[in-house]
């Protein structure tokens, strides 16, 4: 186990720049998730950490050693691949033992280690099977077992759950989290699934276009996004972005929204943003669907809550909640209400806009205000 420091790493293929100055500090035992849309460079970064690809400039420091120019095998890193990459000609036992054999570990110790890992992952009954005789979830376990067997300094996971079906993915996610809590290993994990990122990570690095947009705990990234991309990428259903004008409101500011011909002032919590330079201008209001709810009497009188009647355009029941698509400022806005409170399509319904967690972005730069 060790800490990992990625210092200003650039990676280019000819004229194409994949990574543009990535710096991350990962502390010992941390579970870091790199998340982003495809093509954002997250897998390339992982390959650079593993040494499967060389960095163009920058340093990768693992523990106390600079491993930037070391071969993959000398870095003491284990990796779990999306396709699991099990050796098809070997049974599970040999798959797990391979890395140990190559490193010339004594036979007895290898057997002991394989037994330990198999017990840990509950794959003892599978040890004599070939990979082709395993199901997806079993292969996934074996791939993890192979990584665990060597006790490397750091573990890398490249979208390990994306080949599993939805139910199994959720199960394996929980198991992976338990495993991490038990072993306390340093993990760098790549995924494009923001739910996976939220649930598993100690800290999330949201990437786009070869740049880390934000690096923080899941709650930070969710509540306090650095820009519109992060705000839109994290959370499902995603945050509503409403362009609206800033006005003065009592001693503070408010944003103006229009619904069914009526204009409403939504007061802005001064803790969330200082909009003094934007009076009369347009900003992007970012408000998550769960902050627009049905009318709850005990909330109506709160300071940053406004009651607004909207026309329901679409309803999407999800069981626990019903999502309502409304039209605000002539833009679509998704709201999350209790199923029993939800009206029918075409009805007008009163909703509460809770501005205490709303965020604001510059219309042009998309940066957080």
């Amino acid at each position: 186990m060790a800490e990992l420091k990625i210092d200003n790493v650039y990676k280019s293929f000819g004229e194409e720049h994949i990574l543009k100055g990535i710096s991350l500090d990962v502390t010992d035992g941390e579970f870091i998730i790199l998340v982003g849309p495809s093509g954002c460079g997250k897998s390339t970064l992982l390959n650079c950490i593993a040494g499967l690809e060389d960095v163009t400039t920058g340093d990768i420091i693992l523990g106390d050693t600079n491993v930037t120019y070391e071969a993959p095998k000398d870095r003491d890193i284990a990796m779990v691949f999306q396709s699991y990459a099990l050796y098809p000609n070997m049974n599970v036992r040999k798959n797990i033992a391979f890395g140990l054999e190559i490193r010339k570990m004594p036979k007895a110790e290898i057997a002991e280690e394989v037994a330990r890992v198999a017990k840990l992952l509950q794959i003892e009954p599978l040890l004599d099977r070939k990979p082709s005789q395993l199901s997806g979830g079993q292969r996934q376990r074996v791939a993890m077992g192979r990584a665990l067997a060597r006790r490397p300094k750091i573990y890398l996971f490249d979208e390990p759950l994306s080949n599993l079906d939805a139910k199994l993915r959720v199960e394996m996610r929980t198991e992976m989290k338990k495993l991490h809590q038990r072993l306390g290993t340093t993990i760098v994990y790549v995924t494009h699934d923001q739910i996976e990122a939220m649930t598993l990570a100690d800290r999330i690095a949201v990437m786009k276009g070869g740049i880390v947009q934000q690096f923080g705990t899941p709650q930070e990234v969710y509540d306090d996004p650095a820009n519109m991309f992060v705000a839109g990428f994290m959370g499902s259903p995603s945050m509503n972005f409403l362009r609206c004008e800033v006005t003065r409101h009592e001693n503070d500011y408010a944003v103006q929204i229009e619904s069914q011909g009526t204009v409403f002032q939504l007061p802005v919590d001064p803790k969330q943003a200082d909009l003094s330079n934007y009076v009369g201008k347009t900003v992007v209001l970012g408000i998550r669907p769960e902050q627009i709810t049905h009318v709850m009497p005990h909330l109506v009188s709160e300071q940053f809550i406004t009651q607004v009647p909207v026309k329901i355009e679409v309803t999407e029941p999800t069981g626990a909640d019903t999502l309502i698509l409304a039209r605000i400022n002539d833009q679509e806005c998704e709201c999350r209400v209790h199923p029993q409170e939800a009206g029918k399509v075409g009805d007008t319904m009163d909703l509460l806009f809770n501005m205490s967690k709303a965020v604001f972005f510059d219309e042009q730069t998309e940066a957080r205000l």
Binding site: A50, I77, M79, N89, G99, I102
Partner: protein, 295 residues
């Protein structure tokens, strides 16, 4: 939907289209296989006769030193041809698999000999190996006066020239088969092995080559049947000579059946060749048809 039991053109057309091929296959392949087997148990000479003589022709066949010589040549040629083709093909495929430039062009060049007929290969190599016009002449003209490369006229060595020409022709094809096999391997397996600490040599010898067993089998089967039925190459290259030193069973069969008027013994040799092919093919088919159980 109509309940009519009448089967329409959709039902008959595929059967109709396939039937000529089926008839041809039944008559000309299986029919003549049976007829040849039948003839091999008769005392046919110039013309087929139908007097049964039991295994007489087989006894005569295996008493004939030319046949034994031809069988021995087949063993030498087969083992060397298959072995060298596999090694050369595999090495070339592994080298080509290293993401090199102009791979498409190189692959085509290596594959080209397969597009030639064995007659052309044999003729070209006959000239190349001819001491008075070929390689030997060339090296001597460069100034190495004592250079000798006259295997093609040496009865003890001539069979190896057949191996050389055969390898030249077939190894590119074997390379293509192996290359396809290598391409079928998930590249992340190689990455995983590298992270596990294996060097490139260990990656190939311990993981990739062992997991290509089916590919090896296919290549072996193809080469083996080329070896057993080899006829045109030998005819064009050495004509079976010098003397009978490069005789192979196919030449023996042809000469006894159609030139020496000993149809019975020729048929017997043909049956032995068929048995040899079956001896290789049957275990192969058995293993192929048996596998789909555990994917």
């Amino acid at each position: 939907m109509s309940v009519s039991r009448k089967k329409g053109i959709d039902y008959w057309l595929p059967k109709l289209v396939v039937s000529p091929t089926l008839v041809i296959a039944l008559v000309f392949f299986y029919g003549f296989v049976l007829w040849t087997t039948f003839i091999s148990f008769t005392n046919s000479s110039f013309l087929p006769s139908y007097d049964f003589v039991g295994f007489d022709q087989y006894v005569r066949l295996f008493m004939n030193p030319r046949w034994l010589n031809a069988m021995w040549n087949l063993v030498v040629f087969g083992v060397l041809f298959i072995g060298i083709c596999m090694v050369v093909g595999l090495v070339m495929a592994i080298l080509l698999d290293q993401n090199i430039r102009a791979e498409g062009a190189i692959r085509t060049i290596y594959l080209y000999p397969m597009a030639l007929s064995f007659i052309v290969t044999g003729t070209v190599w006959k000239w190349l190996l001819n001491p008075t016009v070929g390689i030997e002449k060339f090296v001597i003209s460069l100034g190495w006066d004592s250079f000798i490369f006259d295997w093609i006229i040496d009865p003890d060595m001539a069979i190896y020239t057949v191996v050389i020409a055969g390898v030249w022709q077939a190894s590119g094809f074997v390379m293509a088969i192996f290359l396809a096999g290598l391409r079928g391997i998930d590249t992340s397996i190689i990455k995983a092995a590298q992270l596990d600490g294996a060097n490139l040599f260990a990656v190939y010898t311990r993981i990739i080559i062992p997991s290509m067993r089916p590919v090896f089998f296919s290549a072996f089967i193809m080469l083996a049947h080329i070896a057993i039925k080899s006829f045109d190459l030998v005819i064009a290259l050495t004509g079976g000579g010098p003397g009978n030193s490069t005789d192979v069973p196919a030449i023996f069969m042809y000469q006894f059946s159609f030139q020496r008027g000993q149809l019975g013994i020729g048929a017997a040799s043909a049956v032995i060749m068929l048995m040899t092919v079956l001896a290789i093919l049957v275990p192969y088919l058995y293993s192929e048809l048996r596998t789909p159980k555990n994917g």
